[in-house]
Amino acid sequence: MTAWRTAWTAAVILPVAFLAVFFLYPTGTMLWRGIWDGGFDLEGMVEVMTSRRTWLVTGQTLVQAALGTIGAILVGVPGAYILYRCSFPFQKAARALATIPFVLPTVVVGVAFRSLLGRGGTLEFLGLDQTITAVILALVFFNYAVVVRTVGSMWQSLDPQAVQAARTLGASPRRAFLTVTLPQLAPAIASSGAIVFLFCSTSYGLVRTLGSPGYGTLETEIWRQSTSLLDNRTAAILSLLQIVIVIATLLVSERLSSRVGRLNLRNHHTTPLTKGDVIPAGITALTILTLIAAPLLSLIARSFRVGDGWGLENYRLLRTSGTGFAGGATVVEAIGNSLRIGLIATVLSLIIGIPLALVLSRSVRGPAAAGQSVLAGAILLPLGVSAVTVGFGFSIALDSPPLDLRNSPLLVPIAQAVVALPLVVRSLTPTLSAIAPGRREAAATLGASPWRVLATIDGPFLLRGLGVAVGFAYATSLGEFGATSFLARPDNQTLPVMIVRLLGRPGESNYGMAMAGAVVLALLAASIMAAAEAARKDTR
């Protein structure tokens, strides 16, 4: 059993060491530097925590995130029902369409909304450009798929007999839904809600491309404090506040999703659409056609706009670095950089994520179980720490040999791997957890070596989840903006960074090029996700 033990120890230590070196250490150093400036400055902390602006910003962050989450759940739950529990023609296509927004980089989502609501956009007359409403709509757009997928796959596996029994006993469909189905779905809704809330409360690229309306959010305020006011103390205290919010979200979600009894799960139960489904079907059709398709179509249309006419000029210009500027990386080069960096980041996140998922999916008892849930929570932290904190942290913590990574080409892929890791682990763990522990024990009892158990029992399940994990990792890395823009150097500029820079440059074609670049980025992210999912072997 020593080989077993060594292997598992390594499987725990490798990811923990990676997270410690590339996330906790730099972030911690930055926070420490901000708060401990030659001594603990209690007065300074009180000053920040009692400042009106701090609470206005925190308030806006929480309200914005809460409304985004509620919106995503309100349209996402009917969507989950229609797209996963029911069956109808072209369902696969509808599911794919609903999933596209999530794999889109936040910057592209921001650009898509501006092309719809902003100057010359079809919905310009609504006056929503650069408003908090626009941010919330974009958050719902972006996170719709998270709710639909998480709740949908749960709904699909619910045993229909419980609802049938309630109906036989005289419950109306509404009552049966509220008293039977909804409680069973609650953990899935809570779990997806928590992820959506995390994404909403820490979204940076989206809020920034939409013009940071209102007082801004904690994420934009941290950016402003450290880069405009050069006040690292305030930035650090706000970062801590953000981490507290993240931890609270995780605890609430843990609480809500664990309050569930044994569910009788079945595989893939679907029913054809009936007349009774008209309300959820209507909501879902409306959501997909307006909220999802409209910004995408507007983005595509805008990318073909040349002067007063239409054409491919914006796409042709992608071979240049922009009009009115000479030199610098071209957009095509940026696409190459994005693909290459994304590949490295994906490999890194898998090397770290696979052992981690194997560890987290084992059922253990006692102190090991506590350690397991701390680890499960800790890997979500990168989603909740400001990119500017991580970015500055990298430059002050990883600055001397043997860890002088400041000029290393691996810096950006490592940062992206840290960001992608939570999604990789989250997409692998459920399939691995589904393996009955008895199967591994039986194999071991029959004399299989630990490696053989891993290869023959876990292997097939791992392969099944791997497609989605690879897709998520690659798409996340392609779209990552905050940390990348901070660490990017001219020779490894990625496409999202390039798009934001094009948006900020004078010259008539730069806006059109940004739109064309965004369409290319969206196509890349969506097709990588689709290819990875298609490669998935469904053994069921």
Binding site: A326, S395, L403, D404, S408, P506
Partner: protein, 324 residues
């Protein structure tokens, strides 16, 4: 444990790669609008014998904060892109070593503010105007900062907290009006001036000129902007001069390399491509500007010049935040 040892060894190896050939490399921290052509980089490397590495983590604020945070173990040898409006912090913090390039042209002599900063390029942040709009409406355009109060409802400015031209304009009004700048701004805001969140929002979404269809015929931008937008021009009396400096980082590993880079930035070749590359004006006035610039986008003769030592950035921004 073997895996850990291996992985740490890999990391150590990668780290070692990152810091190799220290002597031949010169690392320059720049803002994210910095551009040199590949030919120019090759020429610099050929002439100086150093390999050029540039890092562009963001705007001027990010650069200065990076310099402050890395003070004890600086990552870069030199820095380019510190502007007039952040000079004071750089000097107060003592982030740079003394060096003024001997190649500094005569025309740049009056731009020198300290022996550790070499002026490389300059520009004017000015109110731009949609001249066609004013002609169509038969209105007389404003001329001075004072006039703007009457035209406030037609004006889009930029948030000084999030954008450097926005802050430049705030600093200009603080210089022009002294203690009364808050009253001036209160007048603008009450009159209906729009505060956009960034330059591109103001110029592309709010401005009526520059192929946009926004509602504001007056917008805060640069004196160089009219070169790229027909039918627009700028108001010379509203301009504020912004100079961008380069310097050698204190405690740098390769200060000679940084000096060579600063000298290179003053060479005729680089100076003459600054308009196209970075949309700024060379500090060498003997270098010819592009034709379009000569027509409509010369530097203002009447630009407001702020005294960097008088600018308390934090105080200005905090008082501005109270006004909104």
């Amino acid at each position: 444990m073997k895996k850990l040892t291996v992985s740490l060894a890999v990391v150590a190896f990668l780290g070692a790669c990152g810091s190799a050939d220290e002597e031949q490399t010169v690392t320059i921290l720049t803002h994210d609008s910095f551009v040199l052509s590949e030919d120019q980089i090759a020429a610099f490397e050929e002439e100086s014998g150093y390999t050029l590495r540039t890092i562009a983590p963001g705007d001027g604020g990010v650069l200065v904060n990076q310099l402050i945070l890395n003070r004890d173990n600086p990552q870069a040898d030199g820095v380019f892109g510190i502007d007039t409006f952040i000079v004071r912090t750089v000097l107060d913090e003592g982030l740079l070593a003394p060096y003024t390039s001997p190649l500094l042209p005569e025309s740049a002599a009056d731009l020198v503010v300290d022996e550790s900063l070499t002026p490389i390029d300059q520009g004017d942040v000015c109110i731009n105007i949609d001249t066609a709009w004013f002609e169509d409406e038969g209105m007389t355009p404003p001329v001075t900062l004072d006039d703007l109060t009457e035209y406030a409802s037609l004006l889009a400015v930029i948030d000084p907290e999030t954008s450097s031209p926005g802050y430049a304009f705030l600093a200009a009004t603080a210089t022009a009006y002294g203690d009364e700048w808050e009253e001036y701004w209160a007048g603008l805001l009450e009159g209906g001036a729009r505060v956009s969140s960034g330059w591109s929002d103001a110029y592309y979404a709010d401005f009526s000129g520059a192929d946009g269809n926004g509602p504001y015929p007056l917008v805060l931008s640069y004196s160089s902007s009219p070169a790229a937008a027909e039918g627009t021009s700028y108001l010379p009396d509203t301009c504020v001069r912004q100079v961008e400096y380069a310097g050698v980082v204190e405690n740098a590993a390769n200060p000679e390399g940084a000096q060579a880079f600063i000298d290179f930035m003053l060479s005729d070749d680089v100076q003459s491509t600054i308009p196209e590359n970075m949309y700024m004006y060379p500090v060498n006035d003997e270098v010819e500007l592009p034709d379009a610039w000569q027509q409509v986008a010369e530097l203002s003769d009447a630009a407001i010049r702020v005294d960097p030592s008088q600018l308390d950035r934090r105080d200005l921004l905090e008082r501005f935040a109270q006004l909104r």
